[in-house]
């Protein structure tokens, strides 16, 4: 069984994905406030290290080191975006560029004029670093799914 793929099928990962989608597309609009502002950060921080390991494929050997590196990259990137205005600006433009093909497809389907990339909404806000501990869930998921140890002792 491919243990790497199992990472994203763990309930913690599935809940993080569902929370991220529901919060970004419904809850933030329906209940704007502190909680919904932090929920996507928490869900994204729990999910992103696992996604990095899965996307890295064979580049990431099945070890604690892979999980640690993915967690570190996630935490470092998030800290930079939330504390350094230049990193925030880069994130806004970069993510806007990644979203652009989907915006363009939507424009094309609606028959409206093609727009250029639009920078996403993000602010430099160190208080969002409160969500950083959620990166630790990646290690819990890796352990629970047997990604970093045999799930069952050999007979």
């Amino acid at each position: 069984m491919n243990r790497r793929r199992e990472l994203l099928l763990h309930p913690v990962a599935v809940i993080a994905i569902a929370a991220l989608i529901a919060n970004d597309h419904w809850f933030k609009d329906a209940y704007p406030g502190w909680l919904t502002g932090k929920l996507s950060d928490a869900a994204g921080l729990a999910l992103f290290p696992l996604l990095l390991v899965v996307l890295a494929g064979d580049l990431a050997p099945r070890s604690w080191a892979s999980i640690a590196v993915a967690t570190l990259i996630t935490a470092l990137g998030f800290t930079l975006v939330k504390t350094c205005p230049a990193a925030t600006a880069l994130y806004r433009v970069g993510l806007g560029a990644l979203q652009w093909p989907f915006l363009a497809l939507g424009d094309w389907l609606h028959g409206s004029g093609l727009r250029g990339p639009v920078a996403v909404a993000a602010v430099t806000d160190p208080s969002d670093l409160l969500a950083l501990p959620f990166t630790g869930l990646a290690a819990v998921v890796a352990w629970r799914t047997g990604y970093v140890r045999p799930a069952r002792a050999p007979a």
Partner: protein, 247 residues
């Protein structure tokens, strides 16, 4: 066993794709631009008179124009006529705040509901090019509809009325027997339908005392701006029917 393993492998790929898309779709662009009102232009006209407020707007996308009514309800206006394209990425549209209504805002936006707003992208704009008091005509119609139980709860009722009109009607409602027996909410627009001519309004009714049987009486009014001359359309311009009779 192999089937289960294959299914989990596909589920894993699917979830990875969804997770990647969820990460890309986060932090959607959220911005808005509100048009400034021209200095010394009127933003309200006297209630009960014939003067309304015509608002001509140019924007990079169809704006949201809001007026408040004398009974403190907000109306999101629809253009008096289909918006015209004035440039590859600009539209012009004309709206009418009915007599007594106050112009509240003219804005364009993307995303909503979040206090954090990002900078609007280049090329997005909205401006009021003309704001003036104009003579108006009105056409009204009345109908009544029975209140039906709603949402499997006897305390809630609903009446649905369909309006057929080329213009967006303004609805007022009253409940019979009177408000001592039931409270009724603001009629809410559920349409228009795809042909743009049918507007379906839901009127929620709350009867704290239990099942409520009554009638909702609805009065709808359409307004228009007098152009060269003031010839209001005939009564056929607005017809109302309870939803069950609308066919």
């Amino acid at each position: 066993m192999r089937e289960v393993s294959r299914a989990r492998a596909w589920a894993g790929r699917g979830v990875a794709l969804i997770a990647a898309l969820a990460c890309i779709a986060t932090s959607k662009p959220r911005w808005h631009i509100e048009a400034a009102f021209p200095r010394q232009a009127p933003t309200v006209t006297p209630a009960g008179g014939r003067l309304g407020l015509a608002v001509t707007v140019e924007a990079s996308r169809l704006p949201e124009v809001r007026c408040s009514t004398p009974d403190h309800r907000f109306q999101v206006l629809r253009p008096l006529a289909p918006a015209t394209t004035t440039a590859p990425s600009a539209v012009r549209a004309r709206y009418l705040c009915a007599p007594g209504w106050q112009l509240e805002s003219v804005r364009i936006d993307e995303g909503s509901g979040e206090p954090r707003s990002s900078t609007p992208p280049p090329g997005e704009f909205v401006r009021i090019t003309r704001l003036e008091a104009v003579e108006t005509w009105t056409v009204s119609a009345e109908t009544s509809a029975p209140i039906r139980p709603w949402d499997r709860s006897p305390e809630y009722g609903i009446a649905t009325v369909v309006a057929t009109s080329p213009l967006q009607p303004y609805f007022q409602a009253s409940v019979e027997p009177g408000p001592a027996a039931a409270m009724f909410g603001v009629p809410s627009l559920m349409g228009p339908s795809t042909d743009g001519a049918h507007y379906e309004f839901l009127v929620p009714v709350t009867a704290p005392g239990g099942p409520y049987r009554g009638t909702i009486r609805v009065r709808a009014t359409i307004y228009g701006a007098c152009e060269a001359s003031c010839n209001p359309p005939g009564p056929d311009a607005l017809t109302l029917a309870p939803a069950d009779d609308a066919g």
